[in-house]
Symmetry: C2
Subunit: 416 residues, 2 copies
């Protein structure tokens, strides 16, 4: 059974720094879910000689080679040609692909060239991965003990095809079952999580525990393999429970998509609606929530009250409170939370006001100070907290948005 | 003079998919600005044997090796040890680094170990890159004709040290000057830009022309090298002018940071203020603008009017307009733009209402339909446009935010 994969990304734009190699990340995440090791990523440009060199090196140390990029109709069909030459595999015409390419050229009003015709060729005796999101199909074939998978470069296409086609293909190569679960944490730094769990992570074999960090959040993937899925799941259960215990109350969910998703579900489950009044986060809370399809069922909208006039004019924050306490203060956050509730009819009003920096506001309030308030119009409760979120503008804003969403989450978990 | 660089990222978290290798992207972008070629990126885990293998391969095909990661005080000091062993370079104690490590352990309340002491060692006879953003310094040394640079892994530290220390170090290795300029384009797809410019790009030698795509935008980097900076700049001038001519009116700036930055400058230059009323973009316009320090001078704030109640309650959109035309309509966009102006006292009101999907709204308005309106309260002009922005929720939202900002830009450029 093949166990070691290597990812080869093909694209000069990656070597010019035009884009980050997120394909390698997406693929690696999937590989670790499948329990397949990956020891190297390589990136090469649109250059057959250097791709051949990368294939030679990769084939000497891995038994699953996954390429991304170089398959699209506007590029030279570099990857397929070079890979097939390297593995001595013929290329045969694939009718549906040719039809798609023809349609593409009809659309842009140009005739396809001989080069385009070659793009409709696929390796002999391969498994075709249909591309529902672009023109170039992917494929997989076996050469001796090595499996070669070719995926398109555009991240959306690559991710969808890897999840939809390549992961099932790779799964079928191995026996037994694998279960992978994710414990999500907010409000505890990565290094704190590592300190708390380092020993557990290092000693974990089956299941394994791997930490990930993303934009101020942290999550832990617990992966177990066994004969059956039920057995694998049973292996993960006590570890997930243990992590939730150690990291309580920072765990916001297990196998959930994001903090905003959890907030969405809680609002829906409790039949509540939310509106947000944002100062320093300037729309980030609303943008995160409105990224979720269907969120209009629970999210009324909000106000970006970036200066005092907007705080007064759009939210009705009394001018004397603004003057007496300053815009970055608990009383202003509370008045914003009440104001946005009243003006949208939402049952919960969330408000953030803070100093994101880089400059202060002339008062002695330090940069990074943020006040968060949550008003529950139904029972009249009003909570307000003050946070110090560092001195880097982007981090302060993004952490403040996270803390605000987490405040809504905890409002429900504390009410039980 | 060394000309070919290779980037080696060290970190098991990269191979597990926990994070994207943005360090390689940042470094590559800087290398292309310096006119240094980069033919491969490699990623290896925290494993000395595999790092040694990567160094062996890289040293055989490049004369500048840049490593990222594996320098921090909580990791095994893998990179420095392995690199120095490989190049037969001794390690000597570096006092300031040791003091920082001691301070770190005092802070976390644990005694430093022998392993930590080794982290204060740096290669003999190296150039030290101070790290103002973390504990681990970077460094560079020369071994024969090869230059080795070691940078920390955390993206902020890596980017700052690469820009602040490594780029000057690499610049000093070469004679002559290099000028790099960026033409930014909005509203023209990457493939259209490629079609328009393919031949020019392929034939360009000095300056070179390289395209980049990012979240619905596209930009072109023009890089020239010459004896002096003035000569290099003179080489770029006609090419930049030519690109601006060919891509007019889609070019929104040369050597500018972003569309929102251009809008910020235009507003400031024309002494105007802006407020935004967002429906389908749900705060994305406000979030992009408020990411800019000092934007409160021109941006009053806005309203995320995600449902009809908020459109009416927060913006005063008349209910009969909502009923007669539907929320996704020109008259509603116009009323939103007027409303947000009135309620914030801004001189310009920008409004977006659209159908981001995945589901329709029950009417026959197709998903992806977006209405944008801009109201100028000072001269009373009101513009409204309708766009069809595809059927993928994230793309519709992000393109709508871009088109809205671009509408403000064009409002000024058309007025002259």
């Amino acid at each position: 059974m093949p166990r070691i994969a290597e990812v080869i990304a093909v694209g000069t734009e990656l070597l010019l720094g035009g884009t980050a190699n997120t394909d390698a990340q997406d693929i690696s995440q999937g590989l670790s879910e499948l329990g397949i090791h990956c020891y190297y990523h390589t990136t090469v440009g649109d250059n057959p000689g250097r791709l051949r060199e990368a294939l030679r090196i990769a084939a000497s140390r891995a038994d699953i080679l996954i390429t991304t990029g170089g398959l699209g109709p506007t590029y030279d069909d570099l990857t397929k040609q070079t890979v097939c030459e390297f593995f001595g595999r013929g290329l045969v015409p694939h009718r549906p692909t040719w039809e798609r390419i023809e349609a593409y050229f009809r659309r842009i009003g140009a005739p396809p060239t001989e080069n385009n015709r070659q793009q409709a060729l696929l390796p002999e005796d391969c498994v075709i991965f249909e591309n529902d999101w672009g023109t170039a199909p992917g494929c997989a074939f076996r050469a001796g003990d090595t499996h070669i998978l070719m995926l398109p470069g555009p991240p959306r296409e690559c991710r969808a095809m890897f999840r939809g086609c390549a992961m099932p293909y790779l799964s079928s190569l191995r026996s037994g079952a694998l279960v992978s679960r994710v414990v999500r944490v907010f409000g505890l730094g990565e290094s704190r999580v590592e300190t708390l769990l380092r020993e557990r992570m290092e000693n974990a074999r089956n299941p394994t525990i791997a930490p990930y960090a993303r934009e101020g959040e942290c999550f832990l993937r617990v992966t177990a393999s066994a004969e059956t899925e039920a057995e694998a799941r049973a292996l993960t259960d006590p570890v997930v429970a243990e992590l939730c215990r150690v990291l309580h109350p920072y765990v916001y969910g297990v196998d959930v998509d994001s903090l905003e998703n959890v907030v969405f579900s809680l609002l829906e489950g409790h039949k509540k609606t939310l509106a947000a009044a944002e100062s320093c986060t300037g729309g980030m809370i609303a943008a995160r929530l409105t990224a979720l399809p269907g969120v209009s069922r629970v999210f009324r909208g909000g106000v970006v009250a970036y200066d005092n006039r907007a705080k007064h004019g759009l939210l009705g924050v009394p001018e004397d409170i603004l003057h007496r306490h300053g815009a970055v203060s608990g009383p202003v956050a509370e008045a914003m939370a009440r104001g946005v509730c009243e003006r949208t009819g939402a049952s919960l009003g969330l408000a953030v006001t803070g100093l994101a920096g880089p400059d202060g506001d002339g008062s002695d309030t330090p940069v990074g100070t943020v006040f968060l308030a949550l008003f529950d119009a139904e029972d009249g409760t009003l909570n307000c907290v003050r946070k110090s979120l560092g001195d880097e503008r982007h981090r302060v804003r993004s952490a403040a948005a996270g803390h605000a969403l987490n405040m809504v989450r905890r409002h429900f978990s504390e009410k039980g």
